[in-house]
Amino acid sequence: MDLAIQRDSPLMRLVLDPVNILLMILLGILFYLVLWPFLELVLHTITWGEGDRRLSRDAVPGEYTWFHWLQVTASPLSERMLYAPLVNTLITGVISTVIALIVGGGLAWCVIRSDMPGKGWLQPVLTLPYIVPSFAIALAWETVFRSPKVGGQPGLYETVMGIPPPEWVSYGTFPISITLAMHYFPFAYLLVAGALATIDSQMEEGALLSGASRMMILRRITFPVVAPAFAAAFVLTFGKTIGQFALPFLLGAPTQFHTIATMVYANLALGLDSMAYVLAILLILMSLLAIWASNKFVGKNARRFETISGKGFRSRQVALGGWRWPIFWSVATFGFVVGILPLILLGYQSLMLIDGFFNLSNLTMHFWTGQSDPEIAMGEPGVLHNANILGAAWNTIELAFFSAVIASLIGLIIAYIVVRKEGNPLAKMLDQIAFIPFLFPSIAFGAMYLTMFAEPRGPIPALYGTFTLLILISVVNRLPYSVKTGVTAVTQIGRELEEAAEVAGASWGRRFRKIIVPLASSGVVTGMMVSFVGVMRELSLIILLITPSTRVLMTVGFNYAEEGLTQLSNALVLIVAMITIAGELILWWAGKSRLVRLREKQS
């Protein structure tokens, strides 16, 4: 008992607690990596920069000014720079969200509440468009509806129909809305399906017994109950669409159709950094507004519609009767068109020697396996031989791996602090700061890190152009998700398990390694896989930070698309799509086998 530790004051005890030390360190780091960059971004927009001398004679580098804000909001340029893109953003956002919600909601009902056949395999097919990179869908759309008026080769539509498609089908509001909807309907589907799964069918049975028709039940009972989830899904989906960069860029830029997100990129490309940052801030504000609205709506109504009572919960499926097979075929066809056809198109096009000629003699493996040939594609060798691409592939895997592992580990530690220090205001603050990256549209987040790390600052070197910066931003961007995963995992670990080790004399480090990590591991590893796949298909987040030496598959693919080397870009996007699909399959399979194991244990 000589080992008793005597300490000077309660304050010292608090300071010496390893969990508190970690809490303070993480708070510091997150403050620096999340809040400070936003501040930098704002400061940058209200300060004269060196480059501003060529824009205005009044420019005094380092002084404060409203010049950039006025330029963006109230100048001859504003119409083109802000208002038209804003309108475009809102219109494409609303249209695509409405479509995504109707389609996603309808499918969710079919899968969750009806007796439609083939649900088991339809579900993964229906989530495919969300799994593959968003601009794969844009590329596929281009493959079909490319209009030669903009230059380049004709698309499939023109080859088959003999006349070019109208321009509004090829570029602008219509294709962007449709492809955004195609990419995001699975997101809406998952949100609505979650809500539908919580409905107790006894509510519907009650209505059935009082003689209501099926439509009436749907309209009067089912829909009102899921309405808050619907509203939240609307706002969240909308929030996601406005941050999309690659997809509207590919289908809009050729005809000078811009959204706020593409305008950020275009301004940066022109060297108008501050303008781009003003737009990025506006984008963040829109996103904040959307999340705030969603919280407000759901927060107010959620209680009222709390349907999980725990007892007597039953979920009965609605019989479709004669509609069973027609509905199945429609859903299956739809799943094929949005989930599989785009990938087939991309694959087919990547085999065409000369883009746009859809006959068999035109097929070649050159863009996959060919050596460099100055006649084709500016001498770029096929993707499987291309040193550039192999380097990018290696970078991609490295980036995804390190980001996923680091994000999951930090997420777990933050989750641990948040769960175990419940009620501590600093822990709560940590939780909230870790969630903030969720609110930043990814292109705006990239812009923040661009301002933050372009130059050395105190002890921190200029990270721009380094691989470290890519990992840093990917980790921070994944934190909201990994903390959530971690919280779920840690909450399930009873406090007594840890106290038992504490009584046995195990230090905090030992408890964390021997008890928390092993018990949280299955959940955290799943989260790690999700992050791995997520980072891999990320483009908007890192597009502003990429330099030739740090290129990854997605950015190389995007550059090829920009340069019009369609086959190469398709081949690359296809590779990423295949990797992400494989990742999702592993996750799906792992989740399933875990369920099976659980069931075995219980029986």
Partner: protein, 391 residues
């Protein structure tokens, strides 16, 4: 399932446990713990003798678990001192807090807190690993403890593959492995079904006796407290109500709360006032009770256990007539509800006595067994004297 239970039913079936523990007493002085505005422990002082089986008993929220967790070091009290084996392990004045792992104690949790990702053997081994024992010492001790608790065959199983009773035993093995002189147990039997709980009570009692440990045991189950303890501490709202051996706790509850809390069915607490001019006779308007004692205040509460009511079908001297309003047979005994005016009393009688609802009976109080409390403070006023004795 049942067969497996039987094979390993008793740990102590063959011999006493090999492990003998050091002795240690515990002293708690003026301990106070607050959570915001609520006081979980209010200036609690208690001395626990070495080798004692002390049970902390009380309704939920009374502070018993908080007290146990303060002893373990899992909670930090706001004020007071704790000594273990004469060593100061907590002092608010000296700012001295010995962490749980250094207090030389073992704990069994309500959920057992077995680590689900470790085998039985590794669960028990964890504490030895922390102590940095040599590999051979550790192995010998492990084998011994697992054998003592009849877990030798199950040592490579995972906790989820064990029955409730077996899990309980792993928790005990883990407790014993590091040879702590003090055992802390937080409702360890509350997760077991009723029959197994009964068996485990016996087992735990033997386990404690053969190890000679100082045990502090928290429960809200009075039967558990009565059957296992050497002394019971009844708590309420962070205050100790009574500290007594179990038999005395039942016979001489020191206040109306303890009287009411202990005993199933409940004690009859009858609020009564002194009848005009008659010193020993008290009445609540419906019934008259002769407490056999004439120096009590004018307003009292009489505590009469159901078995202290003598029921007779004949009219006896000094008895009053009651109506049987309910008959509740329960195996060896029968509980009778009696009514007289607005007063309802419970009586316990043998199963052989045949009574029916609506029947008229007379009741006599066993004056020797009655406890008399002050109506205002609820405190025990002292023993009523024998009616035949002199005062």
């Amino acid at each position: 399932m049942v067969g497996g239970e039987k094979q390993t039913r008793s740990i102590t079936r063959k011999a006493v446990l090999k492990v003998k523990l050091k002795m240690a007493s515990i002293e708690i002085e003026n301990l106070t713990k607050r959570y915001g505005a609520t006081t979980a422990l209010d200036n609690v002082s208690l001395k626990i003798e070495s080798g004692e089986f002390l049970v902390l008993l009380g309704p939920s929220g009374c502070g018993k678990t908080t007290l146990l967790r303060c002893l373990a070091g899992l909670e930090t009290p706001d004020e007071g001192e704790i000594y273990m084996d004469g060593e100061l392990v907590f002092s608010s004045k000296l700012n001295r807090i010995v962490p749980p792992g250094k207090r030389n104690l073992g704990m069994v949790f309500q959920s057992y807190a077995l680590w689900p990702h470790m085998t039985v053997r590794n669960n028990v081994k964890f504490g030895l690993d922390v102590l940095n024992l040599s590999e051979s010492d550790s192995k010998d001790r492990l084998d011994q403890v697992l054998k003592d608790l009849g877990m030798g065959d199950l040592q490579n199983r995972y906790p989820s593959e064990l029955s409730g009773g077996q899990q309980q035993r792993v928790a005990l093995a883990r407790l014993l492995a590091t040879k702590p002189p003090v055992f802390l147990m937080d409702e360890p039997l509350s997760n077991l079904d009723a029959r197994l709980r009964m068996d485990m009570r016996v087992e735990l009692k033997k386990f404690q006796a053969s190890t000679g440990s100082t045990t502090v045991y928290v429960t809200h189950d009075q039967t558990e407290a009565m059957t296992m303890s050497t002394r019971v501490v009844v708590m309420r709202d962070g205050l100790i109500q009574q500290v007594s051996p179990p038999s005395q706790l039942y016979k001489r509850p020191e206040n109306t709360f303890v009287a009411d809390f202990i005993g199933m069915p409940r004690i009859n607490l009858i609020k009564a006032n002194r009848s005009n001019g008659k010193n020993r006779l008290y009445s609540n308007g419906d019934i008259d009770i002769d407490i056999g004692w004439d120096e009590a205040p004018s307003s009292i509460v009489v505590g009469a256990r159901p078995e202290d009511l003598k029921i007779s079908k004949e009219k006896l001297k000094g008895s009053q007539a009651y109506e049987v309003s309910s008959v509740l047979p329960n195996g060896p005994e029968t509980i009778i509800q009696l009514t007289r005016g607005g007063t309802i009393l419970l009586a316990r009688i043998g199963h052989e006595i045949d009574l029916h609802e609506g029947e008229k009976v007379t009741v006599q109080f066993d004056q020797k067994a009655l406890n008399v409390y002050d109506a205002k403070s609820g405190a025990l006023l002292g023993p009523p004297i024998d009616t035949n004795g002199t005062n």
